[in-house]
């Protein structure tokens, strides 16, 4: 940049060097992480300054200035100023055992080969756990990591945009009516506080075929409705559920549909709440101005409403994807504790618990670290997208 400044005349000030978007993003990210460490370093330095020579000298000088106190009085005052520690002590002690220690332990133990949590025995260090987890070569008959990853990703990236879009439509509709708005609102918010396991079981009954499928026993509500259109009953959640096989990967599409329907149903109320309240808080003057200019309802929606609630939409996408990556309870509610047949509906979190229950702690640790890394990557990309889109406010 210096040589550009030296360039005479034509360009008064050269623009700073433009990196490409991704590079720029990682540079900014690095700066932010560095900032955090600098702050931490400052705080730590301040903390230890009192123990250094200069710090002690300064303290002595300060003490000489002030009133002379007895040692007991000084101790009493010192304790009084530090009494904050007493307040945070319970939280700190609990976090040391249940939060800080596990973080260190997961990083250390995931590199122990053949680690068993109960006995603490392991045979040598190395990245063996990660390799085996990624290859699916755990030799225990547990869930397969690739299968779980693909399931989680597909389910999340289909159901979250779908439910956000539906929530947008519903809140636009809610916003445009005046009568019995409250009644609709209340009913639509009902699925808000539900237990994923309980409601998952209810959804499973909608799809379940009991006994044989020759209509002597129930084939489930959904199959009956499909039957009106001449579609034969599909085994949505059972053992003979249809699926596509891609190498070792199986895509149980029928179970996917069931899960996505459940996810959309349970995700809608929160999204409607956020979007609807955002729409209510848009200044009415914009709409009046649009009306004067003769804009149609459709134009108003896309040119005024959508941009104004963009921050909320991106917030919903971020939280939705975060939640989707950690889904587990709904799967158990719908498909039982084995997560479908041979774990074909396993999720990332389900993978961890599967290996904890199998006693293969090393694989569970490796899986949890991989989940952590994936979530981090998604968080960073989300941050980037959010930053770009939320310039309206």
């Amino acid at each position: 940049m210096e040589e550009n400044n030296g360039n005479a005349g034509a360009i008064a000030k050269a623009p700073p060097k433009k990196h490409n978007r991704f590079a720029q993003y990682f540079i900014n990210l690095g700066a932010r992480i560095k900032g955090w460490f600098v702050d931490m370093y400052g705080a730590i330095k301040d903390f230890f300054y009192g123990f250094t020579k200069a710090g002690r000298a300064e303290k002595k000088a300060r003490k000489a200035e002030g009133p002379q106190l007895s040692r007991r009085e000084r101790l009493r005052r010192g304790l009084k100023t530090q009494s904050g520690w007493l307040f945070v002590l319970p939280a700190l002690a609990l976090m040391a055992v249940f939060t800080f220690y596990p973080i260190i332990a997961s990083f250390v133990n995931s590199f122990k080969q053949g680690y068993s949590g109960m006995t603490g025995k392991f045979n040598g260090w190395g990245a063996d756990n990660f390799v085996r987890v990624l290859k699916g070569d755990t030799g225990t008959g547990g869930a397969s990591f690739t299968q779980c990853l693909v399931n989680t990703m597909l389910l999340t990236f289909i159901s979250v945009p779908l439910s956000t879009l539906l929530a947008l439509l519903i809140s636009v509709a809610l916003n445009s009516i005046k009568r019995i708005q409250k009644a609709y609102q209340t009913i639509l918010f009902l699925p808000y506080l539900t237990n994923a396991l309980a409601m998952g079981a209810v959804f499973a009954t909608f799809f379940k075929i009991i006994g044989t499928s020759n209509n002597t026993e129930t084939v489930g509500l959904v199959n009956i409705v499909l039957g009106w259109f001449g579609i034969k009953p599909i085994d949505w959640v059972g053992l003979t559920s249809p699926h596509w096989q891609l190498g070792s990967l199986s895509i149980p599409w029928a179970k996917y549909i069931v899960t996505i329907i459940y996810e959309v149903w349970s995700g809608l109320p929160f999204k409607i709440l956020i979007l609807f309240s955002a729409m209510q808080s848009i200044n009415k003057q914009y709409y009046d101005a649009a009306k004067v200019d003769g804009a149609s309802r459709w134009t108003t929606l896309w040119k005024i409403t959508a941009p104004m609630i963009m921050p909320q939409i991106s917030y919903l996408l971020v939280t939705g994807i975060m939640g989707g990556m950690k889904q587990y309870s709904a799967i158990i509610g719908l498909f039982g504790t084995t997560m479908g047949q041979d774990y074909d509906m396993g999720t990332m979190v389900g993978y961890l618990y599967n290996y904890i229950e199998l006693g293969q702690t090393g694989y569970a640790y490796a899986g949890s670290l991989l989940l952590f890394i994936i979530i981090m990557i998604i968080t960073f990309f989300n941050n980037k997208i959010t930053k770009k889109r939320t310039t309206y406010r």
């Binding site: 955090w36 129930t218 618990y353």
Partner: protein, 372 residues
């Protein structure tokens, strides 16, 4: 009995559809009547018409009127479509709850009919008696519903109250007190929020198992007492309270603890109520951790609901000794009508809580984006 029910259910679908159509129809009719009344009124009073349609009032009379009418018609069709869409969505949102409640009162025979009924022909209250007196399926342990409910309530209350105390005092220390290393500690705590909670579970499980703490309430309560997010939320709330209040309280001779209890807690009560409710709901819904660390008699209500409910023999019952609901007709099969009764027992308290405390819960959730 079964045959009789089977033959009479064909009409049930028609009835259900008709009910939905009638409700939709009533809504549409009310709406249209109101609209029409207003239209007529507007036509009668020219002043109102000019007021409402001042944009087109200046143009030539007859055409404008025609255009207005066309506009109105378009407007009404649009509104009807909007109401129809919302009604369909509302019906679909409510359907699982309705299905859950009616299924819990059906007999298993009725539940399994090839043409489902939309209202139980015979109310089977015995479903509830059965699930209350059944031990958790698949284990020989004596974990009845009473035991499980007791576990959930004791753990829920203790964990909520103790957690609240810890959250409040920690948030207070971070918001108002000065001590060495405060900023380091706070930065460290906030940094842990980025890490998914599943990472902790494995180590915690080993810690608990090694410490021999399995099968106790302690193990359900202790690991989740500290919640960094709520500390952060409450600290920000505390920091919004002006400092002058603190100085005034100091002048009046109030201690730090006294200031916290007498001034800060009343001022931040809405947030505290939200936190309390969300924590209790979180405990009520906890599933993974109890299943991992405890055996059935020490587990929580959601663990109970995932068990299969079967037609077991009851040694004592109001209907005689060695009573079974269906005379072992279904063998060891899991019965969905019983399961729906269990699902009702888990879901309805949450729904009731939601109806009564909607404002606080929504506030908390819209801030944190999580349920508990």
């Amino acid at each position: 009995m079964t045959n009789l029910l089977l033959s009479s259910t064909a009409a049930d679908w028609v009835v259900a559809l008709m009910v939905i159509l009638v409700i939709a129809g009533i809504i549409a009719i009310i709406f249209l009547t109101v609209k029409l009344c207003r239209m007529v009124r507007e036509r009668r009073s020219p002043a109102a018409k000019v007021g409402a349609w001042d944009l087109s009032a200046g143009s030539s009379g007859f055409d404008a009127k025609k255009m207005q009418r066309a506009d109105k018609a378009k407007h009404i069709t649009k509104n009807v479509l909007v109401y129809l869409f919302l009604t369909v969505c509302a019906v679909l949102a409510f359907l699982p709850f309705y299905w859950m409640i009616i299924s819990s009162f059906k007999t298993e025979f009725e539940f399994r009919q090839s043409v489902p009924t939309f209202f139980p022909h015979e109310f089977q209250w015995k479903n509830y008696w059965m699930i209350f007196h059944q031990t958790v399926a698949g284990s020989g342990s004596a974990a009845t519903f009473q035991q499980i409910l007791l576990n959930t309530i004791v753990v829920g209350l203790l964990s909520t109250l103790l957690g609240l105390v810890i959250i409040v005092i920690t948030a207070y220390a971070f918001a108002r007190m000065e001590f060495k290393g405060k900023n380091i500690l706070f930065a460290l705590m906030i940094a842990t929020m980025m890490i998914p909670g599943e990472l902790f579970t494995i180590s915690n499980y080993i810690t608990v198992a090694k410490g021999g703490m399995n099968d106790s309430y302690v193990v359900l309560i202790l690991p989740f007492l500290v919640s960094v997010y709520y500390i952060y939320l409450l600290r920000n709330n505390f920091m919004q309270i002006p400092n002058s209040l603190y100085q005034a309280a100091k002048v009046d001779g109030l201690s730090d603890l006294g200031y916290l209890i007498k001034v800060m807690i009343p001022l931040t009560a809405p947030t505290l109520i939200s936190i309390t409710l969300l924590r209790f709901i979180g405990t009520w819904n906890s599933y993974i951790w109890p299943r991992l660390v405890n055996t059935e008699p020490w587990q929580m209500i959601t663990n109970w609901v995932t068990g299969g409910f079967v037609d077991t023999k009851q040694v004592t019952s109001p209907w005689g000794a060695n009573w079974t609901m269906y005379n072992n007709f279904f063998g060891g099969q899991a019965l969905d009508s019983l399961k729906m009764a269990a699902v009702c027992m888990v879901s309805l308290p949450l729904l009731i809580l939601f109806i009564f405390c909607r404002r606080y819960i929504m506030r908390g959730v819209s801030k944190s984006g999580t349920k508990g």
